[in-house]
Symmetry: D2
Subunit: 355 residues, 4 copies
Amino acid sequence: MSFNTFGRLLRFTTWGESHGPALGAVVDGCPPGLAISEAVIQPFLDARRPGQSKFTTQRQEPDAVRILSGVFEGKTTGTPISLMIENVDQRSKDYSEVAKAYRPGHADYAYDAKYGFRDYRGGGRSSARETAARVAAGAVARLVIPEVAIIGYVAEIGGDAIDLANFDAAEIGNNPFFCPDAKAAARWEKIVDDARLAGSSVGAVVECVATGVPAGWGAPLYAKLDSELAAAMMSINAVKGVEIGDGFAAARLRGEDNADPMRPGEGGPEFLANHAGGIAGGISTGQPVKVRVAFKPTSSILTPVETIDRDGGATEIRTKGRHDPCVGIRGVPVVEAMMALVLADQKLLHRGQCG
Amino acid sequence: MSFNTFGRLLRFTTWGESHGPALGAVVDGCPPGLAISEAVIQPFLDARRPGQSKFTTQRQEPDAVRILSGVFEGKTTGTPISLMIENVDQRSKDYSEVAKAYRPGHADYAYDAKYGFRDYRGGGRSSARETAARVAAGAVARLVIPEVAIIGYVAEIGGDAIDLANFDAAEIGNNPFFCPDAKAAARWEKIVDDARLAGSSVGAVVECVATGVPAGWGAPLYAKLDSELAAAMMSINAVKGVEIGDGFAAARLRGEDNADPMRPGEGGPEFLANHAGGIAGGISTGQPVKVRVAFKPTSSILTPVETIDRDGGATEIRTKGRHDPCVGIRGVPVVEAMMALVLADQKLLHRGQCG
Amino acid sequence: MSFNTFGRLLRFTTWGESHGPALGAVVDGCPPGLAISEAVIQPFLDARRPGQSKFTTQRQEPDAVRILSGVFEGKTTGTPISLMIENVDQRSKDYSEVAKAYRPGHADYAYDAKYGFRDYRGGGRSSARETAARVAAGAVARLVIPEVAIIGYVAEIGGDAIDLANFDAAEIGNNPFFCPDAKAAARWEKIVDDARLAGSSVGAVVECVATGVPAGWGAPLYAKLDSELAAAMMSINAVKGVEIGDGFAAARLRGEDNADPMRPGEGGPEFLANHAGGIAGGISTGQPVKVRVAFKPTSSILTPVETIDRDGGATEIRTKGRHDPCVGIRGVPVVEAMMALVLADQKLLHRGQCG
Amino acid sequence: MSFNTFGRLLRFTTWGESHGPALGAVVDGCPPGLAISEAVIQPFLDARRPGQSKFTTQRQEPDAVRILSGVFEGKTTGTPISLMIENVDQRSKDYSEVAKAYRPGHADYAYDAKYGFRDYRGGGRSSARETAARVAAGAVARLVIPEVAIIGYVAEIGGDAIDLANFDAAEIGNNPFFCPDAKAAARWEKIVDDARLAGSSVGAVVECVATGVPAGWGAPLYAKLDSELAAAMMSINAVKGVEIGDGFAAARLRGEDNADPMRPGEGGPEFLANHAGGIAGGISTGQPVKVRVAFKPTSSILTPVETIDRDGGATEIRTKGRHDPCVGIRGVPVVEAMMALVLADQKLLHRGQCG
């Protein structure tokens, strides 16, 4: 089966392949009257755009978004918003190798097993280019939750983590890694460049924090805020793990160390810790909502890997072409977009049920 | 909002509170003609049942399941299967303290913030007792996927992990921890008992492996097999993290070390590794599907914790009563049930689209 | 496939068969804080209850509803409300004839064709007894829309229609036909009794009007208010047609005769007609929402009908047992319930998107 | 709320307004491997296309469809199929009158009441132009059900019905009314032309029959085949009534006259009548599936109608511009498309659950 729609009240549907004429998203259920234009959406796409440094793929895509519906006189009308991004730089290359053999770690074999054949050009539907459509949809979602500020950043590359003592949000935009720790960013230059030059790749951990989320958003039990975030993040290409708050580290704490004590505060409780990542019982607590996302190293590498061809015969493949040596870096705007989409949906769900 | 239904073709809806008269699940979309009876479901509930050792809550619940619909002459009819479990041991106790003050780490404050009030008896709807209904539904799901074998176990308690060299699946049923490593089980006795006696609690990591899943199950992009598993697992009480395959460890590998090379095998490719946990591009590859789930330490502890009362005033609370010192242990049958439910749903989805 | 859940934010799932131990509904997404008890729901079930006159089936069912979850201290909590009705009068009879041969007009053959076999006792899941669960769910839905008054009635039996000049809403409860026209009710006594005595049956048309619905409810395009009402009504057993406002009669009008002119009124426009039945573009206009529903004559008749048996051989069947000679009569509370459920859902949807 | 997605496994989402740059549909869940191209879809759009006779609107739209995704080497890939149709003939006219005052019978007032404002150009999202996207999606759905033949036609215009004795399917394409009765078509010329010249409009009844549907499709209880068809048809602009089989006429029959007796036939039962319209218990019986749909007269008429303006003041409006004098005529391809979409979805649902 294929399910290319996400969300419950604020829903978006994405479509498109890496090497098709275009890709896009239809955002449905958006409240009416929100000021919007291409200029509001474009900066988020620009942040995700490839080819901006040597640390990401060299494919040159303007990723210019066009609004085709759902907007009138500069405002959302409450009807579906169709967003389209044309593909420009589908370099004409020879895909015969990828067409014939399966790249380990890629979706090649799985797609063939499921559908009988696949659009192999640049990964087709399984390409990370699809995330451009999510980022565009996420920009719409942000308009629904003006009370919320979302900050994403890379917390770790190739096992080398940032030092929280150096955390400076203003730094995130100053380096090609969305890194809030200038010293780590300096180290990562070498790590990523080494991988790139070796035709290898490295993994990364992305963190995303949403502040301003009021207590009460979340739809227990099977659309819990954390459950929806987990689904959203795990649906991103190359993601293999999701943590809320302390995540796996919480499994190593004792109960008293994992508690988030409360005391009276202004306009609600003041929490003395946030091990829970701002979510209890699937509902926001008013604390910052925090998620951590693990990106595996890009599967496209120059080292030859043992594999099979479409006929089941033994062969070997090395993935030439333009690839991100660390796909997690450009994952930051995508993680932020998914956070925005989940929160906006939950806000509407909460308003629907609880008024 | 409240969403108590999970699944797309095979859907289940759970209902019930910790201290209400009963709880249950309605399983809809189950294929017809499957042999079923209460006796088929009960063993899974028995595995999750509390009060079986000193390492779990002492609440005594038979958790006897009753099938109220959807079955005729011992077979599923294709119509909704209603499963009910009566609550028996709702000990009459004084809940006035919990009614007045919020237990940090619990859903108390969040539920109040969302709904304006809450059923505070035993945690109400946010109680882990709800998972009994999932386990019953999961037993039905297993009938849908006879080709799949699911094994869950505790891999780590309080930071103390099993040694894979000692892994013995037959050992899992021999100790009260669902532990496949006899030596670790022996160590955990002390860890959990110490926590219990201290009125504290410890966290755990549960692993679950499904073998026999054919290549091709999964519904990209927003109902990817891994995305659905992440949502399913994160919806379980006390879960804070989910990993597929190597998870966060994959973020520390280089591309060539994370590859799962293939070579020709019988009836499909032979994989030389399984870093991916049996899923690529959101679709099963035919390898074992592997998920890891982090359970935080039980929030109910005897140590007093700073908190606020319903009026916003400062107070302190310690949670008396019957609780699991390590809620992850009884999480094993729940994780297995969610694995079964996701896989059964994906099997039907795949059959629906791809025939 | 089987889909036993209806609704988008306010959702209900029904389960149960005619001759099983019980049937029920789980209502999910209900706003919190609404005063509720069994006593609030029971009167609606009593109105639908069989055995109250010779014009309905003689099966004696108290249809006593029990609330199993979702309510605390007399108020809805926002969590799923489980409602159960035990079956009492499953008369032990010989179903061997129905088991072997297909009753034309019934779902017997279709269920076998779909599922391979069926629970043939009393129609199993396809029995009109399922509608008891809808009526219980509808009683909950009414609490969500206190601003709306819903009145249903039979407008036509066996082709004999009420005279609008005689319409008196107070009359509806005074006769066994939910008939607002005392003269028609008198005529219908003979029509229905004749059919009953002849072992035959007659059809009916039910009308339902909801006043107090504000302008703005409806979810274009594929969950339009009228589209949802059509789906809701057509899902009721024996229903073969649905009209909104003038329905098919509108297809015979010219544009100027079908217009509903507006002029300024207090608190909104005053409409000079209501051909549209209170819905334009799938959205309520503030006028009364009006739906008409056609019920076919009960398929269970004593006249022998040519049919086939399970092995495909020719045979003949006459349906003995207890049946409604005019199933449309008891359809009135069901149509009202579905109206309430759709409106309540649309109210929450509107609030979710538009605040 | 806004729900622009229809379907459960085979889902389509439409977007676009009458006077926006384009409109389209995303079809998700389509099985892989089906031969497709723009040329396969275009004929269905051509049948619906305006401006082909004086009996429909004179707006000139080529309605050329473009496939943007989901197709590779001429076959569906199983991923979402994005279809786009550019608007060409959005005549620049003065909409100030429509912007200020509400056209009775149109969605103008309802949209404003719901969303606070509206895209008034040509009806915006509520325009019948949206149905072009449905027709394109329906063409994809037809590929999923090659065993089914769908024939739609106009059965009645302005109260003048076809004579079944004259029914000739081959005639449907020979006149501008999709009329299977040549004599009726001749009469309708005058009826529709009179209405057109008078600036008035007439209603119509469309019938649609699907043959080749095997027994067993349908998803009881709340996605019954007839319930889904009712929702699908009632979601079409200007539709006010839906009948399955005999519909309201069945409510005037006695049970023995409404029965569809069965006798042994080749490859299944032979039915001696089809009052049920091919559906029993919400499941197809193998007989032709038959639906009747009532279209009201176009609300856009030249006769001035009393109305109010956006400020609530009294005014009067006559709708100039290009309109269909009988919107039901071009409803035929739309009704067929919705029939195809529902049947294709139900086929996949059935295969998913019942294998």
